[in-house]
Each structure stands twice: as structure tokens, then as C-alpha cells.
């Protein structure tokens, strides 16, 4: 039942977006986020949104995946929308009833914020839709590698992420098994109330932790057997390669960026 959960769903493919260097994609995502916050008006936001939708089209990811990526943040969208709608005061009253007063500025800001958040999440999702977790791990290791100079454990961090990715499905499966075993012995896992619920977790978490430590111990031994000695002198099977396309994409993003800034200057 829990087995099919994945973190940051990845859709394998061969599109241009898929083939971009994952390091560039991470940088692009950051740039896109900054871009969305630079845009001061609907026009700027519109440019960014059109650009992101074009990226989706190029990646071959179905548009309904955009809706799927937005689903978990619906509460956030509603919250931001409502907050801005009711609490921003302006001069022009749009709507008035009993104690509720909505100003035009409030409605505008509210809509602006909603579009901004939606575009932001849509853009970020494209990163995980088109790059495998392993590619992302490699990219993060590579991007952080300058930090090695200040003794930041970059390799260790990447190795931990890789092992976590490997063991998450395994531990989920195990949680499932433990839950069933405890249920079979009469544990009440569906208890009502916060404290009771927390208490019901104990008989699941303790065996899970014990087993995780045992696994960690064995894994460490198996890694030693395969000559693991840390990041020093390690090579990689897959080399991250940046090509002309990556720089082209960077150019394109900077163009869009320029358009948004120009738009800001022109229309405030």
C-alpha cells in the first residue's frame, strides 16, 4: 500500500529538457524563482508563465501534470489569496457587505500572489519531473563542490542522499510489515486523539529504528568490502556533461529575464 510513494516524481524521457545538464537545471530553477519575484506586474508574470508553459511543451510532460503538481499546495493558495483579499487596504472599494470590505488593490494583489505561487510551483516541479533523483544528487554534489575548500562534507552529503533514496522504499515496505504484525497482535493503530495516536506510533517506530540500525551496520560492512574509502580519489560512472544546449538555454532564460526587467522599468 505504501510501496508506490515516490519523492519528486520523475518521468523518464528524451526531450531537450530531459537532456539538459541537471546542474544547469537547478540553476535555471533558482533563476526562474528569482525571476518570478522580480516581476512587478501581470505582464511580467505573464511572460514568465508563458515561458514555463513553453518549457513544459518542450519536455513532453503532459499539461495535466501541472494540475497534479499544484494539488498539494491548494490550501496555501487559498490561504494566501484570502489573506491578501481581505487585509490589503486601498482607496477604491470593490465590494462591501456587513464587516467585509474588499478593495480593488486587495483583489489585484491577491490574484497576483496566486498566479505567482502557482507559476513558481509549476516551474519547480518541472525540475523533478525531468531529472532523476540520482541526477539531482550528482548535480547537487557538483554544484556544492567549491564548498569542499571550507571543509564542508559535500561527498558525504551526496552519499547520504544516495543511500536515503535507495532505502526509502525499503523502509516504507518494512513499516508496512511492522504495522501488519503489530495489528495482528492487537495493537490499536487507528486510535483517535493526538496523544493516543502518538502512543500508537511507538510500537511501529521502535522496531523500525532497530531494523534500520541493523541494516546500516550491514551496509557499512558491505561498502567496506567494496573498498569504500570516502570521496577521495573516487571516479563516477556517469559524468555530468554540459553542452551547447545548456548555454543556449541559459541565454534564453537571461533573455526572458531581460524582458521582465524591461517590462518593470517601462510599466512600473
Amino acid at each position: 500500500m505504501l510501496k508506490d510513494i515516490t519523492i519528486g516524481q520523475y518521468f523518464p524521457g528524451e526531450s531537450i529538457i530531459h537532456r539538459l545538464d541537471a546542474r544547469f537545471k537547478i540553476i535555471f530553477s533558482v533563476l526562474a524563482a528569482v525571476m518570478l519575484f522580480t516581476a512587478q506586474n501581470f505582464m511580467g508574470l505573464g511572460i514568465a508563465a508563458v515561458f514555463i508553459i513553453m518549457c513544459y511543451a518542450a519536455s513532453g510532460i503532459k499539461f495535466k501534470m501541472i494540475l497534479k503538481s499544484l494539488k498539494p499546495i491548494v490550501p496555501l493558495i487559498i490561504f494566501t489569496g484570502v489573506l491578501n483579499l481581505f487585509f490589503i487596504k486601498g482607496e477604491e472599494v470593490l465590494f462591501e457587505w456587513w464587516f467585509i470590505t474588499i478593495y480593488t488593490d486587495g483583489a489585484k494583489t491577491s490574484a497576483f500572489m496566486i498566479v505567482r505561487i502557482m507559476t513558481l510551483i509549476t516551474g519547480m516541479s518541472l525540475l523533478t519531473y525531468t531529472s532523476s533523483p540520482i541526477m539531482l544528487t550528482d548535480a547537487i554534489e557538483s554544484l556544492l563542490s567549491p564548498l569542499k575548500k571550507i571543509r564542508f562534507p559535500v561527498h558525504e552529503l551526496a552519499m547520504m542522499m544516495m543511500i536515503a533514496l535507495r532505502f526509502i522504499p525499503l523502509l516504507i515496505e518494512e513499516t508496512d510489515k511492522i504495522m501488519m504484525a503489530q495489528k495482528a497482535r492487537g495493537a490499536n493503530l487507528d486510535a483517535k486523539g493526538l496523544i493516543k495516536k502518538a502512543k500508537a506510533l511507538i510500537p511501529i517506530l521502535i522496531p523500525l529504528f532497530i531494523s534500520a540500525f541493523k541494516r546500516a551496520n550491514e551496509l557499512a560492512m558491505a561498502m567496506e568490502c567494496r573498498c569504500y574509502k570516502g570521496g577521495e580519489g573516487r571516479t563516477r560512472l556517469r559524468k555530468l556533461k554540459c553542452s551547447a544546449i545548456d548555454f543556449l538555454a541559459l541565454g534564453l532564460i537571461l533573455c526572458v529575464y531581460g524582458m521582465i526587467i524591461a517590462n518593470n522599468i517601462a510599466f512600473g
Partner: protein
């Protein structure tokens, strides 16, 4: 040529109390003298706690002897400076395939050892493809390990070791967690590797698997008590039973028949030869 040699190998576990103080010592191995020849297929038998896993962990320096010496290709395993050379020579496969696979993609995991050794990417690609084809898991090279069956996962683990091109592989109960089909797949792989000239040390408590080896040793209370060919070992049914081990079904049957007074030779090991002999006995030829 000998590949592994132990001389008067002793190993003691320290037993700690709740405060982390050493309270007692428990001897896991005492005075083990064992020589493994190149190209050999050695099976190690013994019930739980007989020291067979502890012994295996000495073969590539995961554990270091309390007393005595272990040599791999003439190199002392306590020589810290050559430990990676030793681990490359003697690869090790453990019982639970899930706990020894590091990466979330099969080919990444097979490449793990080579990445550690600093092999250039092109050569890694070549060697892992070769290793994966050898154990017949190449068609899953892009899969996630947790989607594979137990037998397939264990073969991924074996491929990860083979990619290092070791001269010897030590397998610590590699089939204990597998279903009968997976067990068969893994045994077939092990035998095939031995035929390719790789020395195999197989720790097991399945007698049928030990019967496939060329040499069997039996361990009890940290020492080797029997050493010989499978036929020699399994013909001593009473001695094996005394140390808590079973014998293959065929041997058991022959043993009972002999006890009942039938004239059968004691060293029968395989089903076919047993069937033939019994058939001869019945038809009276």
C-alpha cells in the same frame, strides 16, 4: 597456489556491560588453520554460532585476528597499507541482498566498487556491462533494486563484486533469504563463476549446496572439525548429527538403509546415483 591461508587464527569478541566496560571475552575462533587453493570451490558448514561467518570476515580484513595470521596471496591482512588490494582480491557477498546494495539503480550499484577504486568512467562502463552480462542481470541494468526478486538482487550484489575482478569470492549464506527459485539461480551463478576460475568460499547451512562443492569443511565451537570432499564428509552421518547438522536427504536414506543391513556404499551423494543403486538392489543385478 594458495590464495587464502590462516595460521593459528584466534578471534575473541569482547562482551560489554551497560556502561560500556569490557566484562568478558567470548572466543569465536580458536586455532583455525585453513588453506584455500586457487580455483577451489570450498563450502563451510556449521550450525549457528560455530564461527563460520566470523572466519569469513577475516578473509578480507573486515575483522582482524586477535591472535595468529591470515594471508591473502601472501599478503598479511593486518597490513593496513594494502587493505584495498586485499579487498579487491577477495570479494564478499552477504546474506541479505537488500542491505548490501548501495545505489538506487542496478548499474550504479554494480559500479560502486570501481568508482571507489578510481577506475576511469569508460573502463567502469565496460567492466560493469561485462559483470552484469555474466550473472545475467543486464536486462535490468536501469531498474531500481527494490523492484527485483531476491535472486535477482543477490545476483546484482554478486555482479558488484565481480566488477572488481576478484580472484576469490566469499559468500556468507547468500541463499538463506531466498525462495527456492532464487536459490537455484544463485547457485547456478556461483558454479558458473567457479568454472571460470574464480575461487569460491561458500558459507551455507544447506547441505544440498555444500554437496555441490569440491571440498567441505565443518566448523564447531570456533574450530574446524572435519575437512574433506563432500563424499567423505557426508558419509560420516553420526559425526555430523552430533554437531547439530543435517545430511542431504539422499545420504540420510542410504544411511538408514545401511543401518537396516543393506549393502550400499556410504558415500552416495546425488539423487541419480542413489536411485540407480537402489534399482540395482531391487532387481538383484
Amino acid at each position: 597456489m594458495e590464495i587464502i591461508k590462516t595460521i593459528n587464527l584466534d578471534y575473541e569478541y569482547e562482551i560489554y556491560d551497560d556502561n560500556g566496560q569490557v566484562t568478558d571475552k567470548s572466543s569465536a575462533l580458536c586455532g583455525v588453520n585453513l588453506t584455500v587453493q586457487k580455483g577451489e570451490f570450498l563450502a563451510v558448514l556449521g550450525h549457528n554460532g560455530s564461527g563460520k561467518s566470523t572466519l569469513a570476515k577475516h578473509f578480507n580484513g573486515i575483522l582482524l585476528p586477535t591472535d595468529g595470521k591470515v594471508f591473502v596471496n601472501g599478503i598479511d591482512v593486518s597490513d593496513d597499507s594494502r587493505i584495498y588490494e586485499i579487498r579487491q582480491t577477495v570479494g564478499m557477498v552477504f546474506q541479505n541482498p537488500d542491505n548490501q546494495i548501495v545505489a538506487a539503480i542496478v548499474e550504479e550499484d554494480v559500479a560502486f566498487a570501481l568508482e571507489n577504486l578510481g577506475v576511469p568512467p569508460d573502463e567502469i562502463r565496460e567492466r560493469i556491462d561485462e559483470a552484469m552480462k555474466l550473472v545475467d542481470i543486464y536486462k535490468y541494468h536501469k531498474h531500481a533494486p527494490h523492484r527485483l526478486s531476491g535472486g535477482q538482487k543477490q545476483r546484482v550484489a554478486i555482479a558488484g563484486v565481480i566488477a572488481m575482478r576478484p580472484q576469490c569470492i566469499v559468500l556468507d549464506e547468500p541463499t538463506a533469504m531466498l525462495d527456492p527459485k532464487g536459490r537455484k539461480e544463485v547457485m547456478k551463478t556461483i558454479k558458473m563463476l567457479n568454472e571460470k576460475g574464480i575461487t569460491i568460499v561458500l558459507i551455507t547451512h544447506y547441505m544440498e549446496e555444500a554437496a555441490e562443492a569440491k571440498r567441505v569443511i565443518v566448523m564447531d565451537k570456533g574450530s574446524i572439525i572435519m575437512d574433506g570432499t563432500p563424499r567423505e564428509i557426508f558419509s560420516e552421518v553420526e559425526k555430523l548429527k552430533k554437531v547439530g547438522l543435517d545430511v542431504p536427504q539422499v545420504t540420510e536414506l542410504v544411511y538408514e538403509l545401511r543401518k537396516a543391513g543393506l549393502a550400499l556404499s556410504a558415500d552416495i551423494l546425488y539423487e541419480e546415483e542413489c536411485a540407480e543403486l537402489i534399482a540395482e538392489l531391487i532387481t538383484g543385478k
